[in-house]
């Protein structure tokens, strides 16, 4: 080959390989999940249509220190906390927010101290979780715009992590099934209408001290460890984040900073060390000056966010639910002082719940559709208890598989399955249900492929289904139950699931 041609070819190969690598990372390493692993992320993504909402983003301190009901009442708007581990970098969080914010939204950042002193290299727990078996943090990558994805892949995502991600054994069907079952968990969190519903914590202790450094380090070492080791420095990474935050401002979002909640423990008081007393005031002032210099407002001062020993939950950054109320009240006072006033929007907490609930329903439908492609077909046979989860798709309102079968949960329980072609040549198909009731026999309303079959006792019941109702070989069965009850209500155990009917087998003939 002639040299000039060779050089052109080499350049072409180089860019092709580069592009292939980026494609590989995007499509086969950090695979996008149908449902994000985290409830908070699901909450955030589900509320993208709501304008005039308040989002709290930071580390886990904000999960524990915000009372969403109080803040929601103050702002006259729904409040959600989308915070995650404070060790994770801020910039993917910003791009993540950019996908869901609307004009008129408010973002509050009670950043933890280490977030002002981020280093350039990303922490391992973040990098590992991008493409681990459960793709726990895939959304931080997948929600980046294309150019940021390319930049991240080539400058931040180490090759060994990419290889680890690529070698993960992942099964699309299992991931989708896990997504479906996670939706049920999300639904129960949502319907609980508690702090957790809005991304916060309901934990009020007492809990053992977490063995993450809270057990053997002082509060200062725990919350300001990075500064005590590397100096009280505001890093370039944080300053770059400030520039990225302006993108949110450009979209009409009001961004406010405030200080993180820290809590004393009987073993160690916060902000009491000699170095901290000498340095922290200046450090906080430096932070405030830089942040306000970029046009953002800083709310309150850090001493106000220090809580007494009685509020300690399990780390120096985690406070009890009862103290989250005090802390939120104090935050509200400071917000009022700085004229951060209630919103004039017309969204509320209940709107948010409705929107998220609808999202759960829609997602469930689309997951069921995808999962049906993986289902094996059923011929003339009896699907025994242990095979139920393999051959049937339990779309909603079902417990996990137990040896004897599954319990229906709540008022509506749906499952589906696929029939073999041969069975569809006949006019009808017989579907036999076998099972047991948890607390007294009652009729259950049965709907098959939209056909209301009325109320029946399902312990050993056969239904005749016309094949003309069956499209794409798929049969969807829905049970509607009344007077469900939990073992806890009956005093039998602490299980709070509302149970009705236990499916043991399904036969087709």
């Amino acid at each position: 080959m002639r040299s000039k041609k060779f050089i052109i070819l080499t350049i072409t190969v180089f860019f092709t390989l580069f592009a292939s690598y980026i494609y590989l990372v995007d499509q086969f390493v950090v695979v996008e999940r149908a449902v994000p692993y985290s409830y908070r992320q699901f909450l955030l993504e589900s509320t993208e249509t709501i304008s005039g909402k308040v989002i709290i983003e930071s580390g886990s301190n904000s999960i524990h220190s915000i009372d969403p009901f109080l803040l929601s009442d103050y702002f006259n708007a729904p409040v959600i906390t989308s915070a995650a581990n404070a060790g994770y970098p801020i910039y993917p969080k910003i791009f993540n927010l950019l996908k869901v914010v609307k004009k008129g939204d408010i973002l509050i950042l009670p950043l933890e101290w280490n977030q002002y002193s981020y280093e350039d290299n990303l922490p391992n727990n973040f990098l590992n979780a991008l493409a681990d078996k459960n793709l726990k943090l895939e959304y931080y990558f997948n929600n980046l715009p294309l150019w940021e994805k390319i930049k991240f892949t080539l400058t931040q995502y180490p090759l060994d992590k990419v290889i680890d991600g690529l070698l993960q054994e992942r099964n699309s069907e299992q991931l989708l099934r896990a997504d479906l079952s996670r939706l049920s968990r999300f639904e129960s969190i949502l319907l609980a209408n508690s702090n957790q519903t809005f991304g916060n914590s309901d934990r009020n202790g007492p809990e053992p001290v977490e063995k993450d450094g809270s057990h053997n380090r002082s509060c200062d070492e725990y919350v300001l460890g990075k500064q005590l080791t590397n100096g009280f420095i505001i890093t370039k990474a944080f300053k770059d984040n400030l520039h990225s935050l302006k993108k949110l401002v450009q979209q009409g979002v009001d961004v406010y900073f405030t200080w993180p909640a820290v809590v004393d423990h009987q073993r160690s008081q916060c902000y009491q060390g000699l170095t901290i007393q000498n340095e922290l005031k200046n450090f906080a002032l430096k932070i405030k000056t830089i942040v306000e210099g970029e046009g953002f407002k800083f709310i309150g001062n850090y001493e106000q966010s220090k809580l007494p020993e009685r509020c300690f939950l399990n780390t120096f950054y985690h406070i009890k639910k009862e103290c989250a109320t005090e802390r939120t009240e104090s935050l509200i006072r400071e917000l009022t002082k700085r004229s951060v006033l209630p919103l004039k929007g017309d969204s509320s907490k209940s709107d948010l719940i409705l929107v998220v609930h609808q999202r759960i329903k829609d997602t469930r439908k689309s997951l069921a559709k995808k999962l049906n492609n993986f289902l094996p077909t059923i011929s003339v046979e009896t699907v025994e208890a242990r095979e139920l989860s393999e051959k049937l798709l339990f779309v909603s309102g079902w417990s996990t598989q137990e040896k004897w079968g599954l319990w229906s949960l709540g008022e509506k329980s749906t499952f589906s399955f696929k029939l073999e072609d041969d069975l569809l040549n006949k006019d009808t198909v017989a579907v036999k249900i076998q099972g047991q009731y948890y607390n007294g026999i009652e009729e259950t309303k049965v709907v098959i492929n939209g056909l209301d079959l009325g109320g029946h006792v399902l312990m050993d019941k056969t239904f005749i289904v016309p094949t003309k109702l069956i499209k794409n070989n798929q049969v969807e069965v829905q049970f509607e139950s009344t007077s469900t009850v939990s073992p806890a209500q009956l005093g039998r155990s602490t299980d709070t699931r509302n149970i009705k009917f236990g499916l043991k087998a399904l036969s087709i003939s």
Binding site: R2, F6, I7, L9, T10, T12, F14, P158, L159
Partner: protein, 493 residues
């Protein structure tokens, strides 16, 4: 700026090439040369701009002395001084600067120990490449004195000293092989064959550095920094890791230097020729850091009398040459001991040769490699006790400990069930990965064709070569994410 940094590969180098060839195409030949000097000085000053004063001052002074030696060719005197005096002043000046920056603390430390004094250390920052450009310019002065040079303009001289591909860690070039190339008009124009060859050689060097040497570095550093005595396999793992790290690092650097120079149509001398294939220690020094060996031979060993002044004097000359060669690498007793060991080995080899005996080739090769490996321990260790710590481990004084994986690996391939002590945890160099790396890249160093054979003599390029180059460049970017580009070992010398 590092050859293995993305800024160098994707910005600096393409930009310098583009502007250099464009200026030459527009017939601004001198401007093109000036651009190369400027780029080289920027490259040098990228680490620490204050170093620039030193290198520019050194170039000015040496050029002046060289010029004065030229002009006095026929007069035997230069500015009232004899030519020899001028030469001595020049050499003393160069060595004094080198001594001041590189050896003064070592000298003070030893004086303090010797006479119990308490002189304060200067703690000077070693200017980059000082050993290389000093030797290069000393050679130039000697050649001027011996009337073995022609007169060149200052710009060409600056380019000879500062030409960025070889400035930092060699090869140590000779003005005779560089100046004519810089002056050759056709070298100022794009030669795609040279660019293709250069790119290929550069990418091989890059792969050696980024993928191989930097991986061995992890285990070598772990082993040599260990605070506890290493067991047998750990010590061998650490020493062999360093042996291969040094080879792949330095020869990788030399490949990159040669490759980049070739893109500018400049052929640098080859610096490595599969040194670990050597079958005796003399052969090793003909293959390892060849331009340094050449310098030591031409400007030290031969002026000392070489082998022309009798047997015992030959041995003494060898010892002096290699001890000074050791000192050139660094200010420390470990380097002196390393030089002494090599000088001794060369003397022993010469002594053996005197008997006309021949050793079986395989045994000779093994003996040479094992000796070189042992000697590198002194070269790498922070001090002599640390070196002895590794040597003791290699000799089995600290027992044999392995982890489960390593034991299984040995058992799987040999069927042997040795009674070694099994320890928990991920023992550093007792890991299977280290062993696999040593076996694979040892095999390549011992038996595969080297860059010279693979790249420089290459006449045809295929799509496979395009892939090799591209993969090498991509790996540099991707492996550079986890750690910022690491320095080359010879930058410290």
């Amino acid at each position: 700026m590092l050859f293995n940094s993305t800024v160098y590969i994707f910005i600096f180098l393409p930009l310098v090439l583009l502007i250099y060839f464009s200026l030459n195409k527009l017939r601004y030949i001198q401007l093109g040369k000036a651009w190369l000097v400027l780029a080289s000085l920027y490259f040098y000053g990228f680490w620490n701009p204050s170093y620039l004063i030193l290198i520019i001052g050194s170039m000015l002074l040496n050029f002046g002395i060289g010029n004065s030696l030229h002009k006095s060719k026929k007069k035997k005197k230069a500015k009232g001084l004899t030519r020899k005096t001028v030469l001595i002043i020049g050499i003393v000046f160069n060595l004094a600067i080198l001594f001041y920056f590189k050896y003064s603390d070592f000298f003070i430390e030893n004086i303090n120990v010797l006479i119990g004094s308490n002189f304060t250390l200067l703690n000077l920052l070693l200017p980059l490449a000082i050993s290389f450009f000093t030797f290069q310019q000393v050679a130039y002065l000697v050649d001027c004195y011996q009337e073995d040079t022609q007169e060149y303009d200052f710009l060409s001289y600056c380019l000879f000293v500062s030409f960025f591909p070889q400035l930092i860690a060699g090869p140590i070039v000779h003005h005779k092989e560089m100046m004519p190339q810089f002056s050759l008009l056709k070298n100022g124009f794009v030669n795609y064959t040279n660019i293709a060859k250069g790119l290929f050689v550069f990418s091989i060097g890059l792969f050696k550095k980024v993928v191989i040497a930097d991986t061995f570095a992890i285990w070598a550093n772990q082993g040599f920094n260990s605070q506890v005595g290493l067991s047998f396999f750990e010590a061998w793992g650490a020493s062999l890791s360093y042996t291969f790290q040094l080879y792949y690092d330095f020869s990788g650097y030399s490949d990159m230097a040669i490759g980049v120079a070739l893109m500018f149509n400049i052929m640098l001398p080859v610096n490595f020729n599969s040194p670990y294939k050597a079958k005796n220690i003399q052969d090793f020094w003909r293959r390892w850091h060849m331009t340094l060996s050449r310098w030591l031979r031409d400007y030290l060993y031969i002026p000392l009398g070489g082998n022309k002044k009798g047997t015992s004097r030959t041995y003494i000359n060898l010892m002096i040459t290699f001890i000074l060669g050791g000192v050139w690498h660094g200010a420390g007793w470990t380097f002196i001991l390393w030089g002494f060991l090599h000088g001794g080995a060369l003397a022993a080899h010469r002594f053996w040769q005197g008997f006309g005996l021949k050793m079986p080739t395989l045994l000779a090769w093994m003996l040479t490699f094992v000796f070189v490996n042992f000697a590198w321990v002194f070269f790498r260790a922070a001090d002599i006790p640390s070196a002895m710590n590794i040597i003791e481990g290699m000799l089995g004084f600290n027992g044999i400990q392995v982890n489960g994986d390593f034991y299984q690996f040995i058992h799987y391939f040999t069927g042997w069930l040795p009674s070694w002590q099994l320890v928990n945890g991920n023992k550093m160099v007792g890991s299977v990965k280290t062993l696999q790396f040593i076996l694979l890249f040892g095999y390549i160093a011992f038996w595969a064709r080297n860059t010279l054979e693979l790249g420089l003599n290459k006449s045809k390029f295929t799509i496979k070569d395009s892939f090799i180059i591209s993969l090498s460049l991509i790996l540099t970017v991707l492996l550079g994410i986890a750690s910022t580009a690491s320095e080359f070992l010879y930058f410290n010398f």
